[in-house]
């Protein structure tokens, strides 16, 4: 009896299995997208709820009056553009970002080349020390710079006095203050460029240089005809990326000068903080920070196309 019933039960099991497989496949297809959606839901919430929605809300805020009771259209923007203080903020932000990125890129490039010359064992030690400015929280290292720039206790001025040079008003005069905030930004950011360029340098095939050496190319020719073309993509991505970070920089100026002297070193971010949070004019502050948006959009477009091109090259 048991032997007889065995066969159909096995058969039944097998058909059930195939049916289950078809059913399961259908369920899998249905489940796959559901699972994917559930898995990305927290990310979507962060992007939409905490980045996209506040950005749109910021545009709405920028079109209100100071008490946020009436809609004023683009009045805040035209008001800002007419003020000489804000015109200066635009100039200073562009000057700060462009000057700082140029110096970061140059110093980073020089450092990367020097590092590439030495054996990898000692490279590690130098790299570990040189990257420290990037690792220390920017607000914390800027406090030390503030102390180094102190009008009466400046250790830099002490050293200058020893060398017989006059004391420098690091944060007291407009152009010295502008120089100082750029100096600190370059100090923090140059190691990042170095790391990116060093990674790019290592990916240039050695055969190219050997072939060039046989052809009698000079060091300068190797740099212009091999290194730079091979690194072009990574250089442009790093520069654009750093431009965004530098344009949006807040910590350095806020701590060192707080915009002074006479608002001459304000950036969009620090000026928006002063106008929006400290003076309590939220709509005007939103308008100030929104001036960053068009520039950021242009940079983001170029970075994205650069990254996509690079991904295709790699694949």
């Amino acid at each position: 009896m048991a032997e007889v019933s065995d066969v159909p039960s096995e058969f039944a099991l097998r058909t059930a299995a195939t049916a289950g497989q078809v059913n399961g496949l259908r369920r899998l297809l249905r489940r796959r997208s559901t699972i994917a959606f559930l898995m990305t839901l927290p990310l979507i919430l962060v992007i939409v709820g905490l980045v996209a929605w506040p950005s749109v809300y910021s545009i709405y805020l920028s079109m209100l009056n100071k008490k946020m009771t009436a809609f004023v259209g683009i009045d805040n923007f035209t008001f800002l553009l007419k003020r000489s203080t804000f015109q200066m903020v635009i100039f200073q932000t562009v000057f700060f970002a462009v000057a700082a990125v140029i110096f970061k890129a140059l110093i980073g490039f020089i450092l990367a080349h020097l590092m590439h010359n030495i054996p990898s064992k000692t490279q590690r030690a130098y790299r570990a020390l040189l990257l420290l400015p990037w690792v220390i929280p920017a607000a914390m290292s800027t406090l030390t710079w503030w102390w180094l720039f102190d009008p009466s206790y400046s250790a830099f001025n002490w050293a200058l006095n020893v060398l017989g040079a006059p004391a420098v008003p690091w944060l007291g005069e407009t152009w010295w203050a502008r120089f100082s905030v750029i100096l600190v930004n370059v100090w923090i950011g140059a190691p990042f460029f170095m790391i990116m360029y060093l990674a790019a340098l290592k990916s240039v095939p050695e055969e190219l240089y050997e072939a060039a050496a046989i052809d009698g190319a000079s060091a300068w020719q190797k740099l212009v005809h091999i290194t730079l073309p091979m690194m072009r993509n990574i250089i442009s991505i790093t520069v654009l990326f750093s431009l965004i970070l530098t344009f949006a920089n807040f910590d350095i100026v806020r701590i060192l000068t707080n915009g002074g002297p006479q608002d001459q070193t304000h950036l969009f971010s620090t000026y928006a903080f002063q106008v929006g949070i400290q003076s309590g004019d939220i709509p005007l502050g939103a308008s100030v920070s929104l001036f960053m948006l068009p520039l950021l959009a242009v940079f983001a477009y170029f970075i994205l196309s650069g990254v996509n091109r690079r991904t295709k090259e790699v694949m």
């Binding site: 997208s33 699972i35 898995m39 990305t40 927290p42 990310l43 992007i47 905490l50 980045v51 996209a52 506040p54 809300y57 910021s58 805020l61 020089i110 020097l114 590092m115 010359n117 130098y126 570990a128 020390l129 040189l130 420290l132 400015p133 690792v135 929280p137 920017a138 914390m140 290292s141 406090l143 030390t144 102390w147 180094l148 206790y153 250790a155 002490w158 990042f192 790391i195 990116m196 990674a199 990574i234 965004i244 949006a248 807040f250 910590d251 806020r254 971010s269 903080f273 929006g276 949070i277 939220i282 939103a286 920070s289 960053m292 950021l296 994205l304 990254v307 690079r310 991904t311 790699v314």
Partner: protein
């Protein structure tokens, strides 16, 4: 004889050439060492000065006698006073609390999302991946004004926990972005084999993807940690009482009262606040650097 002569001279020429090449190389090597040492010294001036000032007494700092770069009577008073200070302890604990919660939250969100985006193609997945990259490029200085209104409306103003809402906007996009890169580099054969064996997606993630992509997870965790630990703008805008304050802003607001700057303590405080990221960097440097370069090179 003639032929032998040319052969000899050619050999000599080659030797000479080789010598000059070697000499050139040695010059390049030593020149690089010297230049790098000078650069390293210049880059380390601020950290060194932080340390020397933190070891000075207020009297020594204000005396303005002797070389400010050297310490005459090193003391640990600044550190001891800060460590035993109630406010400083609160700042530190708040920083730790927020950083731990934000890091865990960011990693859970980004690992789940990156897995789905890297392996489960679904409607809108490509657009979402681009969206991740774009939100990564939105700086905090663009968001803090609308966030000021939103945090206020939620009743979270001057509440440390508001930072748990704010920091993921800085950490999640980048962490997701580099995790997509790491997950995509895992060969597809592995998950096909797992699917045939009847593994669910969750099992696949936990048993294959997370162990294989562990270096990427460590790199992303380090990034989330350094960003949350060092953030300055959000706590400055949203927190104002010392029981809710975090370390980065607390040092500035607490130790600077009007015109009184306690530089010795400020430097000791900033040194201690910088220490956790520096220690992590010292031990996990390779992961730190791979996370740094992954942003632009996609894994």
């Amino acid at each position: 004889m003639n032929a032998a002569q040319t052969a000899v001279s050619e050999e000599a020429l080659a030797q000479l050439h080789g010598k000059s090449m070697r000499r050139q190389r040695r010059w390049a090597l030593w020149g690089s060492y010297i230049a790098l040492t000078v650069f390293t010294f210049m880059f380390l001036i601020p950290p060194i000065y932080t340390l020397t000032t933190s070891l000075k007494t207020s009297a020594e700092i204000s005396s303005r006698q002797g070389n400010p770069w050297l310490v005459q009577h090193p003391v640990l008073d600044n550190f001891i006073e800060l460590i035993t200070d109630d406010h400083f302890q609160t700042f530190f604990l708040n920083s730790v609390k927020i950083t731990v919660v934000v890091v865990i939250l960011s990693m859970v969100i980004s690992i789940l999302a990156a897995f789905a985006l890297a392996r489960m193609r679904f409607w809108g997945s490509a657009a979402l991946a681009t969206g991740v990259f774009l939100t990564y490029l939105v700086p905090e200085s663009l968001l803090f004004i609308p966030m000021f209104q939103i945090v206020g409306a939620l009743g979270l103003m001057n509440n440390t926990w508001s930072l748990v809402l704010l920091y993921p906007t800085l950490t999640v996009p980048f962490c997701t972005w580099i995790m997509i890169g790491y997950f995509s580099s895992i060969p597809k054969e592995l998950d096909e084999a797992a699917l045939i064996d009847g593994a669910t997606y969750l099992q696949m993630l936990v048993k294959i993807f997370i162990p294989v992509a562990l270096p990427g997870i460590i790199a992303a965790t380090i990034f989330a940690f350094t960003v949350s630990w060092g953030q300055f703008l959000y706590p400055l805008a949203f927190l104002f009482s010392s029981d809710q304050m975090v370390l980065t802003v607390g040092i500035v607001t607490e130790l600077i009262r009007g015109d009184v700057f306690q530089w010795g303590k400020i430097m000791a405080g900033s040194l201690m606040a910088a220490l956790p990221p520096v220690i992590i960097y010292a031990f996990l440097m390779d992961y730190y650097i791979s996370g740094l370069t992954a942003g632009a090179t996609k894994g």
